[in-house]
């Protein structure tokens, strides 16, 4: 049995006596809560990481370490990425909730009125680490304030099975153009392992495919003025027509409503041959080489490679999930939360997390491109430049609140989804145009 020590009993009695002797009157007179109730708690809401080892690292190592070093309590809570926006809205409206919330892409603009300016922290990080990439900066800063602190970019690349693509004729590496990809995809589907691509309402794999796909054909949401809706163009219609046939000929048609986890499972089970994804498929296959094997009984990880999306008539583009951290205005622990943010962004702490990601996430500053991790595994190398080369939604305008609204409503994604379900290309583009006009004219 645990025996209380004499000293601790005296201490406890002393503090109890202090409260008892002065009572509530004493507490009220001093205007301060008793000292032992003053430990600050910071509540941090993040996504459930696609690299489970990183969540473990936070819980078992980094959070306890931060608590010790900063003298505060840190509650880390993880939810499915698709639930972050609803949670943020609910918290802002009720004026209470997590102090720090992870934001995806340009949703920061939707919550701009409800966050604390983090310019000092962000610019300090930028100075220390060789500059924040333009792509990342455009999501976090509206030019006046930093609505959030840039965190990282889980790059979106096509994970594919080398052997299957070679069998389908892609002997010189991954197809360079959409047309080549379609030709190979046709053979892949005929061989029983099609391409898997979601066109559903899911934060990562759907928009990071549909936006760059549209751009690569020359399509865009708005003109550079950020007002004139420009989606209804010959180029967009062409892209939709191509997608409709490409879908039927080469894709797993069951993928239409997949979320961000479905393609991981389908790929690892050997159902599909290629899919736009973060590196989580490869990382999981590497973690369990005995579980995930090819039909020949070899570890699947050795048959996986990554490639950027192919090029279209207007060039090659990428859009990668951008993650940042918002400090909420309603938070009563803003100083403590800032302190914690500063702590996680110090190089030695951030590096531990970065290493646990094994290249799944690319940091937002230039310095990390030099990190030896990128030389460890050539399969992960394509992810190194994700944060440098991405293009933000809302192109050719800014990724502002209107662009964020369009992204949250999955308008571009639905335009393609409607077409592959049978709506004529012209009509689906017209539908997207009318939806975008409602947003941009408001």
């Amino acid at each position: 049995m645990l025996k209380p020590k004499r000293r601790s009993v005296i201490k406890l009695a002393g503090s109890a006596a202090a409260v008892a002797s002065t009572g509530m009157a004493g507490i009220l007179a001093s205007g301060r809560t008793p000292a032992y109730a003053q430990q600050k708690t910071v509540h941090w809401l993040r996504w459930v990481d696609f690299v489970p080892a990183s969540d473990q690292l936070w819980r078992k190592e980094l959070v306890p370490q931060a608590e010790k070093e900063l003298g505060m309590k840190i509650n880390i809570e993880t939810v499915n990425g698709n639930d972050l926006q609803p949670r943020t809205t609910a918290a802002i409206q009720s004026g209470s909730g997590p102090d720090l919330i992870m934001a995806f892409n340009n949703t920061t603009y939707i919550y701009a009125n409800s966050v604390v300016d983090l310019t000092d922290l962000a610019e300090d990080l930028s100075k220390r680490e060789g500059g924040i990439f333009k792509y990342c900066r455009s999501f976090c800063s509206d030019g006046k304030i930093f609505m959030s602190m840039p965190w990282a970019v889980p790059g979106a690349m096509i994970s594919y099975r080398k052997s299957w693509l070679e069998e389908a004729g892609a002997t010189n590496g991954f197809p360079k153009t959409w047309q080549e990809y379609r030709t190979v995809g046709k053979k892949l589907k005929a061989a029983g392992h099609p391409i898997g691509q979601t066109l559903g309402h899911t934060f990562g794999d759907a928009p990071t495919f549909t936006y760059p796909y549209m751009w690569s054909w020359g399509g865009k949401e708005v003109e550079q003025d950020g007002k004139t809706v420009a989606i209804n163009s010959k180029e967009t219609i062409e892209s939709v027509k191509f997608m409709t046939d490409f879908w039927k000929e080469a894709h797993d048609e069951g993928a239409l409503a997949w979320d961000d986890t479905n393609n991981n499972r389908a790929f690892l089970s050997g159902t599909i041959s290629a899919t736009l994804n973060g590196a989580s498929i490869y990382i999981e296959a590497s973690r369990k080489p005995d579980t995930y094997q090819t039909e020949k009984g070899k570890p699947m990880k050795d048959d996986i490679q990554h490639s950027p999306l192919p090029a279209g008539p207007a060039g090659q583009f990428g859009m990668h999930l951008m993650q940042s951290t918002m400090l909420m205005k309603y938070s009563k622990n803003q100083d403590a939360a800032k302190q914690f943010l500063k702590w996680v962004h110090t190089e030695k702490n951030y590096e531990k997390w970065f290493l646990s990601q094994k290249g799944y996430s690319t940091p937002c500053t230039a310095k990390w491109e030099e990190h030896p991790l990128w030389k460890q595994d050539p399969v992960m190398a394509p992810f190194k430049v994700a944060a440098r080369l991405g293009q933000a939604p809302g192109f050719a305008g800014l990724p502002n609140q209107k662009a964020a609204e369009a992204l949250s409503k999955y308008i571009v994604t639905d335009m393609y989804a409607k077409a592959v379900q049978g709506m004529p290309a012209e009509e689906s583009v017209k539908w997207a145009e009318s939806e975008l006009k409602k947003i941009y004219s408001a």
Binding site: Q93, I110, N113, H201, G254, L256, T271, E405, K418
Partner: protein, 310 residues
């Protein structure tokens, strides 16, 4: 011995003046109703009024907004997804209610018979209703999974299909899938409620009719059904309200997809209001449900009254 009551001595205390007031029935009724009225006001009337104000403003997350009149409703009028949701909600409610009623009644009739293990079967029937909806819907989501569907696997291995059925990826199949799950979940409620109704019908009526030569079908239509009608109508009223405003099931199964094909009022309101942060537009979608639901409820209540009078 004559006993004289001494005023104020009964129970040792004089009743307080406000207690006296309660002797007046009107005050008593008021006092007894007050807690319920406060609860209803706080949790039903206040959010409802707040919802109306929100729908008439241009509020978005973190911005209280200004009064804009009916602008949000005008926007909805031109919103094709909204009209899809309206159609879906009616279709979803109508189809599921018909099936839930038919299957529930059938089950209730079976359960009303005597057989061994009756109590256990009755308890088991309630399972779909007892399991939290989100949990059971997740199980269904797995069964309809595009890649790993156990239904597809079974049909494939039995040789009924050659290619996978795209349960949640095809708009009409996705709608059918959520309808199936709603029926599965709702049948027990109908069955148990109707069973309770059936047990109030005196068996003698049926026996008398049988002696007179009435066949089972005639006995059902002429005796059981009319006597069960008041209960049936109330059960249907509850079910229609719940189904019309359903959220969890669709949210978990399809999230309103593919490409907004399975949105109901509630899921669409959630997507716009809470997901995108356009609170006023979300409130407008949500409020648009009210006149439809109000009309359905009034018609049903009038019908119930007619049935009861008869």
């Amino acid at each position: 011995m004559a006993v004289t009551a001494v005023p104020g001595m009964v129970g040792g205390r004089q009743p307080l003046p406000w207690m006296r007031k309660l002797e007046d029935e009107r005050w008593l009724a008021f006092t007894l109703l007050l807690p319920t009225a406060i609860l209803l006001g706080l949790f039903i009337a206040y959010p409802f009024v707040e919802g109306i104000f929100l729908a008439l403003s241009d509020a978005r997350v973190g911005d209280p907004g200004h009064f804009v009149g009916l602008k949000n409703f005008a926007k909805l009028w031109d919103d094709s997804i909204f009209w899809t949701s309206v159609w879906n909600t009616f279709w979803y409610t109508a189809v599921t209610t018909v099936f839930k009623l038919a299957l529930g009644l059938w089950l209730a009739m079976l359960l009303n018979r005597h057989f061994r293990g009756k109590a256990i079967v009755r308890a088991f029937i309630l399972l779909p209703f007892i399991i939290p909806t989100v949990l059971s819907t997740f199980a269904w989501k797995w069964m309809f999974d595009p890649t790993f569907s156990v239904i597809n696997w079974t049909l494939f291995n039995l040789g009924f299909i050659k290619a996978r059925i795209n349960w949640l990826g095809d708009p009409s199949l996705a709608m059918t899938s959520i309808i199936v799950v709603n029926i599965w979940r709702g049948v027990p409620f109908f069955a148990i409620s109707l069973l309770a109704g059936l047990q109030t019908i005196s068996p003698e009526l049926n026996e008398a009719a049988a002696i007179d030569g009435a066949r089972p079908w005639a006995r059902f239509w002429l005796i059981t059904w009319p006597l069960l009608l008041p209960v049936t109508m109330v059960v249907m009223l509850f079910s229609v309200i719940q189904t019309f405003a359903d959220f969890q099931l669709v949210y978990v199964m399809t999230g309103g997809g593919p490409a907004n094909a399975t949105h109901l009022f509630a899921t669409y309101a959630y997507q716009i209001g809470i997901g995108t942060g356009l609170l006023s537009q979300g409130a407008a979608v949500s409020l648009a449900m009210f006149p439809f639901l109000f009309l359905i409820v009034v018609i049903q209540l009038l019908y119930i009254r007619r049935v009861e009078v008869r």
